[in-house]
């Protein structure tokens, strides 16, 4: 097991930022790992439109993506925001898949980030009744949920 929380805590310390890794929750079925951060300087850690958190997340994923055996996507999270969002997106995916099947026509979701789209695809990948396709250009890419027997 690689020491993600040790590495992040060291980075926060060297940034001179009051922040610590509070907990790590793995969602094994989606191969995701939510690293929850807490402390006084959350505004600085998140940054303008989340850019600092995203930058840290990118670097951490590259560092820990080096050995492919236990490769999980690391999601840096504050106040379990993204983890709650994941749950909401899962519920949305199920609900919209049902609607697509009932009406027998595709349902197009709102534009989403790659993380959000990934959750939708993963939730419905084993659903026999529908398939999911992303279309459009960033940052307006959308997922369509399409009934298979249309």
């Amino acid at each position: 097991m690689l020491d993600i929380s040790g590495t992040l805590d060291k980075i926060f310390e060297e940034m001179g930022i009051n922040a610590k890794v509070k907990s790590i929750n793995s969602v094994d079925k989606d191969n995701l790992m939510f690293v929850n951060i807490d402390g006084e300087d959350m505004g600085l850690i998140i940054g303008n439109r989340g850019q600092t958190l995203n930058a840290l997340q990118l670097i951490i994923n590259i560092i820990f993506g080096k050995n492919p055996e236990e490769r999980k996507q690391v999601i840096l999270d504050v106040d379990e925001y993204k983890q709650k969002k994941r749950q909401k997106l899962e519920d949305l995916a199920e609900k919209m898949a049902k609607e697509a099947v009932e009406k027998n026509k595709p349902v197009v979701l709102r534009p989403m980030s790659s993380f959000e789209r990934k959750i939708i695809h993963l939730t419905l990948q084993n659903n026999e009744a529908v398939e999911t396709i992303s279309s459009g250009e960033e940052p307006f890419r959308k997922v369509s949920i399409i009934p298979k027997n249309m």
């Binding site: 980075i11 060297e14 930022i17 930058a55 840290l56």
Partner: protein, 76 residues
């Protein structure tokens, strides 16, 4: 800030022993020059400069606390 950039760069490259950061200190800004092994330059720049951009954002956030402007240069 120097230590921060060194830590991040060392974790990214294949030859951490060749990572070196030199600092040029000004009144309002700090210039951090990142030196890495020739083969490792791609590792700190990334596709379309994604990694270089992320490094700059992180160093900038750290500089906000100290009240100075930080500039990261990748030197080859």
């Amino acid at each position: 800030m120097k230590e921060l950039l060194e830590t991040l760069a060392k974790a990214l490259v294949d030859k951490p022993e060749e990572v070196n950061v030199s600092v040029v200190e000004g009144d309002k800004s700090v210039i951090l020059q990142l030196h890495v092994a020739q083969d490792d330059i791609g590792k700190v720049i990334g596709k379309q400069g994604r990694i270089a951009k992320a490094l700059r954002v992180i160093v900038k956030a750290s500089a906000t606390k100290s009240g100075k402007k930080a500039i990261v240069e990748i030197v080859d």
